[in-house]
Symmetry: C2
Subunit: 205 residues, 2 copies
């Protein structure tokens, strides 16, 4: 530990939060050790003490952001699958959907993840956590499909003003949630059978 810099977890978080603010406002280009120190109101030495590289700050900052997002959702705690479905719909187009700031930060995280293996690893970990949380209610392929739908719709909505229609979203969520059940298998077989030519042997050439 360097002289004169106390190991203060609150200060460490404060610095990561300042980095998030700068990222949200001006993007990667706006973030340096110096601008972070100024924004956090701490000495430059304090920033470099806790975070030797900007990569370190970004990793801490994105982890902080993800904690805030996670705090809004607790899918495993949903008592029934129906409640879990409603939570998913709400996370896409309802009150718990991503804020404008979060969307901007996600875009920055993804762009930076192309350049930083550690941030790419973080993104993978966030995704795995989401899928694990979805699999407490849905079969794994449905969890993967729902996860993709949530991501895609959140992104698309972020470019367009106005909310998506909740009924439209609910139907898509229901369709994916039900797509990998035994019932879906039966329905698919029935459909395939219906589409098959009725004259036996017609396809046996």
């Amino acid at each position: 530990m360097r002289k004169g810099v106390a190991n203060d977890p609150q200060r460490k978080d404060k610095i990561a939060r300042a980095a998030l603010d700068l990222l949200a406002e001006g993007g990667l280009r706006a973030v340096t050790h110096r601008t972070i120190a100024s924004r956090a109101g701490v000495p430059l030495g304090s920033v470099t003490y806790y975070y030797a590289t900007l990569d370190d700050v970004f990793v801490a900052a994105f982890e902080l952001m993800q904690q805030e997002i996670d705090a809004r959702f607790d899918l495993p705690a949903a008592p029934t699958q129906a409640v879990a479905r409603a939570q998913i719909v709400d996370s896409i187009c309802g009150s718990s959907r991503a804020s404008a700031r979060e969307v901007v930060l996600y875009r920055e995280m993804y762009a930076y993840g192309s350049r930083s293996e550690r941030v790419a690893e973080l993104v993978r970990r966030f995704e795995q956590r989401w899928i694990a949380s979805l699999t407490t209610h849905f079969p794994e392929p449905a969890a993967r499909a729902l996860d993709a739908l949530m991501e895609g719709w959140t992104i698309h909505q972020s470019w367009n003003p106005g909310r998506l229609d909740a009924d439209m979203v609910a139907r898509a969520v229901d369709a994916l949630a039900d797509a990998y059940t035994a019932e879906a298998d039966t329905a698919q077989r029935a459909k395939a059978a219906a589409e098959r030519p009725t004259t036996t042997g017609a396809n046996h050439r």
Copy 2:
């Protein structure tokens, strides 16, 4: 037109392509008028002649990228909806899926779109074009849901090595494509009826 700089559309494209290369390799921070000129092998004055601002170059570069992606897909030309569905599956996890370079460029475009109203407008236009192309085969809500699924899965896949299972993807595509049909309405009503308490009047309080 300035002296000594011919209006040459090929050179204009060449400059935009050089900007794309730099963006893919080093991100926004790697792109300046100077690095573009050097990469394209043209005089600096030529870059500033065709593109007064970096914003102008980025808009042209992302348009070029989108043209290349569009050239791989022609959903409206698909003879049947089944063929269109197969093309969608292929665009998510098959041979026509986004390349690693395209994914990196998309991430840059999105991040930069937070800072540039013109690039944000471009992203909106790309999305509207995709949805319009999907609506040649699917009802509009299905087109929107499929568009979100394609986007989300493309992004998630980009962080993880290995391909998604095509059967899993096909089931999700089928589920969304069928989610807004009259049949889906009937099925939903039947399901709702099945879940309703059987004792008539039980809910009439």
